[in-house]
Amino acid sequence: MSDFLFVSAALFALGVYGVLTRRSAILIFMSVELMLGAANLALVAFARAYGSLEAQTVGLLVIALAAAEVAVGLGLVVAVFRMRSSTAVDDLSELRG
């Protein structure tokens, strides 16, 4: 049990690190997917520990949710790339106050 949690926490921390340090929209988004995967791993581990089917179904829902996010997110990245020929988030600096 604690092995699963340890790996999951490490994956989540890696994801957070990636979000904070990467400068490309695609890589940031990949780090987010890592965070979702970490959550799913912990979820399934808990589901096994509690012997609960409910939490395992939620695991499937989370996969569907991540897929929906990919569809919208990659669409946005492509739109931005067409406009600027770059997906670096540092270039997103038109809106300031």
Binding site: L5, F12, G15, V19, A25, I28, F29, V32, M35, L36, A38, A39, A42, L43, F46, A49, Y50, S52, E54, A55, V58, L61, V62, L65, A68, E69, V72, G73, G75, L76, V77, A79, V80, M83, R84, V89, L92, S93, E94, L95, R96, G97
Partner: protein
């Protein structure tokens, strides 16, 4: 229950119809669907539950849902001219709006964390696309920023939900556990919800996204999304107990929010950005309500009144905006260009500043009383002080519209009849609710947040 079903079917119908039919059909289908859902929620408020209690349409869900529908309808009715001018009217715009309002209903109508997260995604995913729909550099930037930060927030919230499940063995908001696992999970879930409700320190996306997104979309974002986020936030905080860690965290966040939101607004020179900071500050006032013994009526009333007032202000900006935003120069001398728009803007800003006899005053009064009943006198004093600062920047904007000279003869904004009637009606409602708040208070006086 029924309004949720109507909204879902409206979205589906708009999607299917949009492929073949002209866009104005879709526009009217979505408006009719939203109006129908509003009528059903107001007059056949059939409360009930479905899916074994996962979907729980109680009084509070109904109130937050109504605010969401009103926001969507408002954006649809006053946005026509903006869509035409910026050339962004496609059927997707209307269909996505309907789906997003549907998401508000789902998020508000559950006491189960997983369903709340799914509702959050249903309302957010269409919004990411809507924010980027104008297809220019600013709009794309707003869409991508909103998406990346929103995706991080929902991933953080999901991890929190999983940790809470590990600590308590349940996805219900009312499941209380203890130990580090539970506390870490609670903090992560709260962080995700703070982000959606744009509470400091999770607010930095709001000014950029509100400024870059198409103005009618900003109208909906600032009002409808807040209703859903606060419905979920109130359920989580009340479920976990305001006496514990959740209450302490919210108190800290409220102090930061009212302070930073109002001070940030002082430094702005763009009307949409100013209203974005103002909406951050208002989020702080709304959150005050959770400390009271009976938070639902104060929070519901504030959300409704705030949605009308902020919606009204953004509706005026939608008429002035040519797709480039509304710098303060664009508001100057509005009274000469269009007395009607200037009058409506005055009503909206007075109400946002919380001056009697406008509806915003009663919203503030109710949440302050509610927080005081919960014994949070320091918080109330702090919120009152910052509300005075807020009055300054609202009046500054108003003075520009009324007393500044218009400069080099800007265009007279033509307001379509439908938008004018809608704004007039909402303005009248803001005044009427300010004089007779008791007329509608009963609607907001609903019972428990947590089953």
């Amino acid at each position: 229950m029924i309004p949720t079903a109507i909204l879902f079917l409206t979205g589906l119908l708009a999607t299917l119809l949009g492929v073949e039919a002209p866009v104005r059909w879709v526009r009217w289908v979505v408006r009719a669907g939203l109006a129908l859902a509003l009528g059903a929620a107001l007059f056949f408020g059939a409360e009930g539950q479905a899916f074994g209690g996962l979907f729980l349409y109680d009084g509070f869900a109904r109130v937050a849902g109504v605010v969401g529908i009103v926001a969507g309808l408002f954006a649809s009715l006053v946005g026509a001219r903006y869509l035409e001018r910026t050339g962004m009217e496609r059927f997707e715009y209307h269909a996505l709006l309907a789906y997003s309002v549907f998401g508000v209903q789902v998020m508000a109508a559950s006491a189960n964390l997983v369903v709340i997260l799914i509702g959050l995604e249903i309302l957010s995913l269409p919004l990411y696309a809507l924010a980027a729909l104008r297809y220019d550099a600013k709009s794309e930037e707003a869409g991508l920023k909103y998406f990346l930060l929103g995706a991080v927030a929902s991933a953080v919230m999901l991890y929190g939900i999983v940790l809470l499940y590990g600590a308590t063995g349940s996805f219900a908001v009312s499941a209380v556990g203890q130990g580090p696992l539970y506390l870490a999970g609670l903090l992560l879930v709260l962080a995700g919800l703070f982000f959606k409700a744009s509470l400091v320190p999770f607010h930095w996306w709001a000014p950029d996204v509100y400024q870059g997104a198409p103005t009618p979309v900003t109208l909906y974002m600032a009002t409808g999304v807040k209703a859903a986020a606060f419905a979920a936030l109130a359920r989580v905080v009340v479920g976990a107990g305001v006496g514990g860690l959740a209450g302490a965290v919210v108190a800290l966040v409220v102090v930061l929010t009212v302070f930073y939101g109002n001070l940030g607004a002082l430094a702005q020179s763009e009307a949409k950005r100013l209203l974005a900071y103002s909406s951050v500050a208002h989020a702080g006032y709304i959150a005050l309500a959770v400390f009271g013994p009976n938070p639902a009526p104060a929070m519901g009333f504030y959300l409704f009144v705030y949605a009308l007032s902020t919606g009204l202000a953004f509706a005026v900006l939608s008429q002035l905006d040519e797709g480039e935003g509304v710098p303060f120069a664009g508001v100057k001398g509005l009274i000469k260009k269009s007395p009607m728009l200037a009058g409506v803007l005055a009503i909206a800003l007075f109400s946002l500043a919380g001056m009697p006899p406008f509806a915003g005053f009663w919203g503030k009064y109710l949440v302050f009383v509610e927080a005081a009943r919960g014994g949070q006198y320091t918080l109330v004093a702090f919120a009152l002080l910052t509300a005075v600062v807020a009055a300054y920047y609202y009046m500054k904007l108003l003075a520009l519209a009324f007393f500044a000279s218009a400069g080099e003869g800007g265009k007279t904004p033509e307001v379509p009849a439908l938008a004018a009637v809608t704004m007039g009606l909402v303005g009248f409602l803001v005044l009427a609710l300010g004089v007779f708040p008791g007329l509608v208070y009963g609607f907001f006086n609903v019972g428990n947040l947590v089953p």
